[in-house]
């Protein structure tokens, strides 16, 4: 019956009290005159309560005079009464209208700009470029041409492959995708040298084109010439070649890790003091005594941000700081355990450094105890290709 109720609400109805002696006769004459009464309730011997529509009520008054019953309104319900009351309060309507306008206008501005997806391109330069093009906090969302800005950004930043700007309410999200820059490969027709990529000891040189200038056992540093693209023979002018080949060399990856053998642990004594603060932006207000009564303590911070709806949060933080009184306790660590930890850490680090195709030849581990510290030195010797092609610049032709 929700439909009926809604209908009644929009038509408007009143709850009336009818007083009289022959109320049944009154109800009957209502039926005859097509006045719809509903929810009729007996209140007392001479009084009933009933619901009646606005139009029905007007007809009812004429009827009540005839039957000698007294009709009085108990409550008015529905939209017409409400609208009537509202008509008298013009300022209220004006205020509601005004606040609606304010909300609409306020939500047409961009409040924050987010840049995501950039790794190599500097965020600041991207942002300043966006500001120059008109996309900044405070600009009107209808005034900025997003597609145009996207194109301009693409033109300005060569490193970007794609730019997408999306407006989510008052937030602008600028998503960028960077170009994947391939390693420079020199064209086959261009003459070049092969130089060393890293420091190492030459193990094997396979010169497929060009003259090898190093031999097994030579120590080279990064940038040293390995295979020359300038070939000169007797009775001939030097010719320039596109030198290439593989140069296998032993290279060394090293990592030194130092650790303390005794650590100072803080242990709670059980004493506690709590400070509550309210933070609005950078401003922080503290309540009660904010002095910490302990010299040595452990601080546990607890931040809460009241959420309004989904992830819209109030800019107010409630910070609860709990200070626990603490005592220092020195603890000796087990040397073997520390060694194991260092080892694992070093291996993890070095494995990230070594190229995948390299072949591991040897691993050297050296532990040294210096006073209260332990120092672990890890060296991994690998065999890898250190050849790198480099253009010959000083060509004289």
């Amino acid at each position: 019956m929700l439909i009926l109720r809604l209908w009644n609400y929009f038509r408007g109805y009143v709850i009336i009290d009818i007083e009289g002696l022959n109320l049944e006769r009154f109800i009957n004459s209502c039926i005859e005159n097509n006045i719809y009464l509903w929810n009729i309730k007996r209140l007392s011997y001479t009084k009933i309560e009933a619901h009646v529509g606005i139009r029905g009520f007007k007809a009812l008054r004429r009827l009540s005079r005839k039957t000698g019953c007294r009709v009085s309104i108990a409550t008015k319900f529905g939209y017409p009464f409400w609208a009537h009351r509202l008509k008298k309060r013009k300022m209220l309507i004006a205020g509601a209208f005004f606040s609606l306008i304010v909300v609409i206008v306020a939500s047409s501005f961009i409040y924050s700009v987010d840049v995501v997806g950039n790794e190599k391109v500097d965020e600041e330069s991207l942002r300043s470029a966006l500001v120059r093009m008109g996309l900044k906090p405070g600009s009107n969302r209808y005034a900025v041409d997003l597609r145009e800005i996207e194109n301009q950004i693409l033109i300005e930043f060569n490193e970007l492959a794609w730019v997408g700007i999306e407006l989510k309410g008052i937030y602008a999200k600028v998503e960028v995708v960077e170009k994947y820059i391939q390693e420079r490969v020199i064209d086959k027709n261009n003459p070049c040298n092969v130089v060393a990529k890293k420091n190492g000891v030459i193990d094997q040189v396979i010169a497929k084109n060009g003259d090898s200038v190093v031999k097994e056992g030579d120590i080279v540093v990064a940038g040293d010439l390995l295979i020359s693209g300038v070939v000169s023979r007797e009775n001939m002018d030097p010719t320039f070649l596109h030198a290439y080949g593989e140069v296998l060399a032993r290279t060394y990856y090293e990592k030194v890790i130092t650790r303390e053998l005794t650590i100072i642990k803080k242990e709670k004594t059980g004493e506690k003091s709590t400070v509550t603060r309210i933070g609005i932006g950078k401003l922080k207000l503290s309540f009660g005594d904010s002095e910490v009564p302990f010299g040595n303590y452990i601080l546990e911070k607890n931040m809460k941000r009241p959420t309004i709806w989904r992830n819209i949060r109030l800019p107010v933080e409630i910070i609860k700081e709990e200070y626990f009184e603490a005592m220092d306790i020195e603890e000796k660590l087990d040397i073997e355990v520390v060694k194991e930890e260092i080892h694992q850490e070093a291996i993890d680090y070095l494995m990230g450094e070594i190229p995948e195709e390299a072949e591991i030849l040897n691993t050297f581990i050296d532990f040294k105890e210096v006073g209260d510290q332990i120092q672990g030195k890890f060296t991994i010797e690998v065999l890898e290709d250190i050849a790198l092609q480099e253009k010959i610049d000083n060509r004289e032709d």
Binding site: I27, N28, I31, W38, N39, A50
Partner: protein, 91 residues
């Protein structure tokens, strides 16, 4: 009057027409003990929260119950809600 009634009844029987329409009899529907629909009534005679009397073609219909309420009342139908304990026809 009695004769026309009898003829009407015979026609209704022969043609299997619903008698409440042809003979203008009340049709009473009871939903549990909560709601009572009376169609084809001839007016209300008494109404209080424990007793309601309605005039119909088959006599006076008396409904007894507790906290009775006239949910809706129009020319052809009365809806009574409340705790209905019984109803009967009186002459």
């Amino acid at each position: 009057m009695k004769k026309t009634e009898a003829i009407k009844k015979n026609i209704a029987d022969a043609l299997e027409l619903p008698q409440d329409i042809l003979l203008d009899l009340p049709k009473i529907t009871l939903v549990g003990n909560l709601q009572l629909y009376v169609e084809n009534h001839k007016g209300i005679l008494e109404y209080s929260s424990t007793r309601i009397r309605i005039f119909t073609k088959s006599g006076i219909l008396r409904i007894i119950g507790k906290s009775l309420l006239l949910k809706s009342i129009v020319v052809e139908e009365i809806i009574i809600v409340g705790e209905i304990s019984g109803f009967e026809f009186l002459d």
